[in-house]
Each structure stands twice: as C-alpha cells, then as structure tokens.
C-alpha cells in the first residue's frame, strides 16, 4: 500500500508527465485554450492511459517475457494503444453515447500522444507489476489532467492581457509552462 502511495505522489506531482518528463506536450500546448476542452482531453487521456498501461503490462508479463520477445515492446505497445483507442471509440459509440459525445472528439488525438506510449515503456523500465502499472498509469494521467487544467485556467485569464506581439501564441504558453514547472519542483520535497 505504501509503495502504491509513493508511486501516486511521484507520478502525479513530483515527476509530472508534462512539466518534468515532457511527454504529451502537443495536446498540452494545443488543446489548453479553454478549460472545458482541456477537461475533456484530460479525461480521455486518463481513460486511455489507465487501460493501456494495464493491458500492455499484462501482455509484457504473460507474452513478451516468457517468450523472450522483450525487444519487440515498442512495436507491440504502439499497436496495442492504436487498436485500444479504436476499440474504446467504437465501444463508447455503441454502449455509452453520452460519454462518447463528451470524449469522442479527443480519442483519435490520443494515439499519437507520446504520454500513452511513454507510460507503458516506463512501467517496463521500472519493472512494475500489473497492479503497480495500472496505478502508475492512473497517477500519471491524473498529473496530466492537473497540469492541463491549471494551464487552461491561466490561458483563459491571459486572453485579455497585453502580451508583446512576438510572444503571442506558443511562446507565452511555454513561458507559463516554465513557471508552472518551477512551481512543481517544490513537490520534490514530498518524497
């Protein structure tokens, strides 16, 4: 239980996926203009990362390890993620249309989100078991949701500010991210 708690704090706050690992920055910079789209993206990412880290961990433990195929993990994981995203999209469309309407747009964007593949690979690198992998996936995506929500809130307030012309758009968002990253450094004291 204690190790799981440490994993949650480390992955969500200390080693935040966006601000210290630099994974999944495309949606972080691109889809953080409004907080409701940021929330949708964050939820979809959470959904996919938690499931995909579980499935890829199961495949790694029961298929790749026993047959000595660990060198194939990049190819296997990316295929698992791509087909999982398709499958989740189809499942939600058929069974839970209300959830599909709120998350559906974001799902196709997730296949190329490097955070998803990154978490699966990190689970292997840190030799986490299946439960630990799922918890790590959940915590990492919680960190993603947290960071993208903070960013979208800040960006909504920045709209009315007078930003130097050269810094408008991506540069000012990156400077905001840098300040958030400095703030998140403070969490290192927690562990």
């Amino acid at each position: 239980m204690k190790t799981l708690l440490v994993i949650i704090i480390t992955s969500a706050l200390v080693n935040n996926v966006l601000l210290s690992q630099f994974l999944g920055l495309c949606p972080f910079l691109g889809v953080s203009k409004k907080s409701n789209t940021a929330l949708g993206m964050g939820m979809a990412v959470m959904f996919v990362i938690t499931i995909s880290s579980g499935i890829s961990s199961v495949i790694y433990t029961y298929v790749l390890l026993p047959w000595d195929l660990t060198y194939l993990n990049t190819i296997v994981f990316i295929l698992v993620i791509a087909s999982l995203v398709q499958f989740v999209e189809m499942f939600l469309k058929k069974k839970i249309p209300s959830l599909y309407r709120s998350l559906g747009v974001y799902l196709p964007l997730i296949t190329t989100n490097c955070a998803v593949l990154g978490v699966s690979l990190l689970n292997v690198q840190k030799s986490y078991g299946i439960v630990e992998s799922i918890v790590n996936g959940f915590a990492t995506s919680l960190g993603f949701l947290l960071a993208i929500m903070i960013m979208s809130g800040l960006r909504e307030r920045m709209e009315e500010n007078d930003i130097p012309e050269s810094f408008q758009g991506i540069p000012i968002v990156m400077i905001t991210a840098a300040l958030m990253s400095i703030a998140f450094y403070g969490f290192a004291g927690l562990i």
């Binding site: 920055l25 691109g30 190819i75 490097c114 012309e165 050269s166 540069p171």
Partner: protein, 235 residues
C-alpha cells in the same frame, strides 16, 4: 537536363526541410523530444541524427509501398514501419554508442510517436515517389538536428558554460543551472520562437501554415478537428 531536374526536386526538398519548413522553428512539430533531450548539445545532436535516420528510411519505405498499402489501414501500416525502424535504431545505438543510448533513454522508443515522422508520411511520402521522399525525410531530419543542436547548445552554454562538453566561457562565469533543468527547456525555446517571430515580422514575411497531416498533433492545428472534418477524413 538531368542535373537541373536533380536540383529542382532533391536539393529543393533538402532546403525546404532545413530552412523553409524547419520542423521546430517554423512548424513547431515534435516538441516533446525537443524539450526533453536538449540539456546538452551532444544529446540534441544525437537525438537529431537518430530521428533523421528513422525519418529518411521511413519516408523512403512508405513512399515505395504507397501503392501497395490500402488507404483504410495506412496509418497503422505507417506506424508499424516506423516502429520497426525505431527498434533497429535503438539496437544500433545500444551497440555502438552506449553512452548516448543511456542518456536518451526512453526518448528513443518514443521517436515512434514523433509528430514529424507521421506528419511527413501522411503529407509527403504517401503521395510522392520514393527518392524524392527520401530527400524530403533527410532534409526534415537535418533541419530537426540543426534545431536540436542549437537549442541544446544554447542551454548547455547558459546552464553549464560548456559546448559539446568543451568549456567555452571564462571561469568567472556563474552557470545559470536552471537552463539545463526542465523549466529552462520551456524558457529557452519560448525565447527562440519569440525571436524568430520578431525577425519574421520585421522582414514582413507572413507566417507559414503548418503542413502536419497527423490528427494527433493538436499543436499546429491550434484547435480540435470538428466532427465534420473527421468524417471527411474517413470517407
């Protein structure tokens, strides 16, 4: 005749990738590895060359197979080709440059999901002949390498006072360590893009549109694709 043709397509592709549509400075694609590995010029250069290797061969293979791959399954097929090349690159690095393999770590397998690679596959290699695509990949890769080396060099120079591990600044210079930490990556790249915006505005050139063909790259689209776009894409 032959030379002028060579010049018009292949040299143009190289120039396009390195200068005119530089993936980092002009298109802002593939930001994740750019920020993550550029804590030193050596790492940036190594990552750039690895990506160039993958991009050149993936563009070539995809262009060569473009008539064989059915349109409906093209993205998964591209991903398999890219993932195979990335695994090969990973083995080569592990065998011949183990120090770089150690310092790049997880970001080598993550080349698979680099927007630049799938973006070029979708927007160029799937529509053009193999050799032109090879040069397109080479140009884009070298442009990426150039950008990563400059960014890594700047961060290393500010943050540690060295360049390619060679001490460059006088000893009384106090290194600003934050430049090689995570926040420094955002700060330095933000300032570089802002400088570029300023220069572009001064010379009166309009901003380039992004040619990234991948849905996943929300960055260059600025906003989400609407439901309608998606249907059009699938039809």
């Amino acid at each position: 005749m032959k030379y002028s043709m060579f010049k018009s397509t292949y040299v143009e592709r190289l120039y396009n990738g390195i200068i005119r549509e530089n993936p980092i400075f002009v298109l802002t694609l593939g930001i994740c590895p750019t920020l993550a590995v550029t804590s030193s010029a050596t790492n940036g250069f190594g990552m750039g060359l690895t990506t160039t290797f993958v991009l050149t061969f993936s563009n070539f293979l995809i262009a060569a197979l473009r008539k064989v791959i059915p349109d409906r399954v093209r993205v998964p097929s591209f991903i398999v080709i890219v993932a195979t090349l990335v695994t090969a690159a990973q083995f080569l690095l592990q065998a011949y440059v183990p120090s770089l393999y150690e310092s790049l770590g997880i970001y080598i397998p993550l080349i698979v999901v680099n927007c630049i690679i799938l973006g070029r596959a979708e927007s160029y290699a799937s529509k053009n002949p193999a050799l032109a695509s090879l040069f397109d990949g080479l140009g884009m890769g070298l442009g990426f390498t150039l950008a990563l080396t400059i960014l890594g060099g700047l961060r290393e120079l500010i943050g540690a006072g060295t360049l390619f591990n060679y001490p460059l600044l006088p000893s009384f210079y106090q290194p600003v360590t934050i430049a090689i930490l995570a926040p420094g990556a955002f700060l330095v790249l933000a300032c570089m893009i802002a400088t570029q915006n300023y220069l572009r505005k001064k010379s009166g050139k309009p901003k380039k549109n992004c040619s990234c063909g991948v849905e996943g790259c929300g960055l260059c689209q600025g906003e989400l694709p609407t439901r309608k776009d998606e249907k059009g894409e699938k039809a």
